[in-house]
């Protein structure tokens, strides 16, 4: 299977260069990584060096940080042609909803950072606009005790929604250093603790590859491809 880590933060957002992330990810069994630095911190350092690493594909995407809904739609529309992969910095209820309503967006990253999660209306919108929801397992690794319990409650509820509306799901760690990365099998084992089926979790890790392939084809309009 082609497993991709879909939401990494490299220097200057995290503490590792993209090539170090690529080496670590290759050793863990990934066939590609998508470096999604926040738009506020700027372009990742040493991208050309990362492309020299053999045996793993390094994709540069963006993570849009928006202040409100209009801001988000404008940024997504302007960045769509420049990047193969567009994520949105989720967590806030309004931003989560706006991201799900925007067909330009590929991934809603860490929507469970706040207390609310995605909710029914946003889930329906995500289904209609084919926006994938990211199950960010970073808090599961980082947090302990009450904070983690709260986070798990939100995730459990949202996984029911994802199952109900059959949404696209991706699994990531939101890593900022090579020490935050976990192997695909570890992530599957963690996701299974939430009651996610094993096959579904494996599918979720392979989904970024198929989204990337879709984005790289040249679409002239909806459903019309240029050869």
């Amino acid at each position: 299977m082609n497993f991709y880590e879909c939401n990494l933060h490299a220097l200057p957002d995290g503490s590792d260069s993209p090539s170090r992330m690529a080496l670590a990810a290759r050793r863990l069994g990934y066939s590609g990584i998508i470096v999604c630095n926040h738009m506020t911190t700027g372009r990742a350092f040493g991208i050309d060096a990362a492309r020299l690493v053999g045996g793993i594909e390094v994709v540069i995407g963006f993570e849009i940080v928006a202040t409100d809904q209009r801001n988000l739609h404008a940024k997504a529309a302007s960045l769509r042609d420049k990047a193969d992969f567009l994520a949105v910095h989720g967590g806030d209820e309004k931003i989560n909803r706006a991201a799900c309503e925007d067909p330009n967006v590929d991934l809603l990253a860490h929507p469970h950072e706040g207390r609310t999660g995605i909710g029914v209306a946003a889930a329906k919108a995500a289904r209609d606009n084919q926006v994938a929801i990211c199950l960010d397992l970073g808090p599961m690794i980082r947090l302990r005790g009450v904070a983690r319990v709260r986070w798990m409650e939100v995730v459990r509820r949202d996984l029911d929604l994802i199952r109900k509306f059959d949404l696209n799901l991706m699994i990531s760690t939101g890593a900022r250093s090579h020490l935050d990365l976990r192997s695909p099998r570890d992530l599957v084992a963690l996701a299974c603790l939430f009651g996610l089926e094993r096959d579904r979790a494996v599918e979720a890790l392979a989904l970024p590859k198929s989204i990337l392939d879709l984005n790289r084809r040249r679409w002239t309009s909806v459903g019309v491809e240029l050869f």
Partner: protein, 178 residues
């Protein structure tokens, strides 16, 4: 240990793991951290069913024992370990096997390259600092500007030889030098 009826003896699996850490880690600290992660994730009741024991640990590679039916849970709890005794660390499961002998032979390499200890300076525009250690192609850098690692909670900046000399095209070397 007292002998037990063969039919009642529990079946075991041995998990070979590798510890990636920013600094040297003591065996006792690691055991404590794994125990804490275990009770935090499964509680006392679930932890008792795992029957996790540390068999060996040499500073980098180690062996854990658990019940044969609960290997996936052990994978999950090892994945939640993010720091050991105050240093950032991660546990990578290398493989699971049914006996100590096969786990050691298959998954734990016998010769380990020692990390470089020579201090060198690196200056790359946005990032500068002194090299802490080099393992294969991977380089840990102690940055001059501490703010650069703030968000991730790590002490060092992770770079590779690709970042230092861009024209290097021999890109398929194994990164851990094993």
């Amino acid at each position: 240990m007292r002998s037990w009826l063969p039919v009642l003896r529990d079946r075991r699996r041995y998990i070979a793991f590798e510890l990636e850490a920013e600094d040297r880690v003591k065996r006792g600290d690691l055991i404590g951290e794994i125990r804490a992660a275990q009770t935090s994730l499964f509680g006392d009741l679930g932890s008792a069913e795992n029957r996790l024991r540390m068999i060996t640990f040499d500073g980098r590679f180690g062996l854990l024992r658990c019940t044969h039916s609960r290997t996936e849970e052990c994978r999950a709890l090892l994945a939640t370990v993010n720091s050991v005794g105050g240093t950032r660390a991660a546990i990578r499961v290398r493989g699971i096997s049914g006996s100590i002998k096969t786990a050691t032979e298959k998954y734990i390499p016998q010769s380990i390259l020692q990390p470089d200890e020579n201090k060198r300076r690196v200056d790359l525009g946005p990032v500068s600092g002194s090299v802490v250690r080099v393992i294969g192609r991977e380089i840990d850098l102690c940055p001059d500007d501490r703010k650069i690692t703030e968000g991730s909670g790590t002490r060092y900046v992770g770079l590779t030889s690709f970042d230092l000399c861009g024209e290097d095209i021999d890109a398929d070397g194994t990164s851990d030098g094993l």
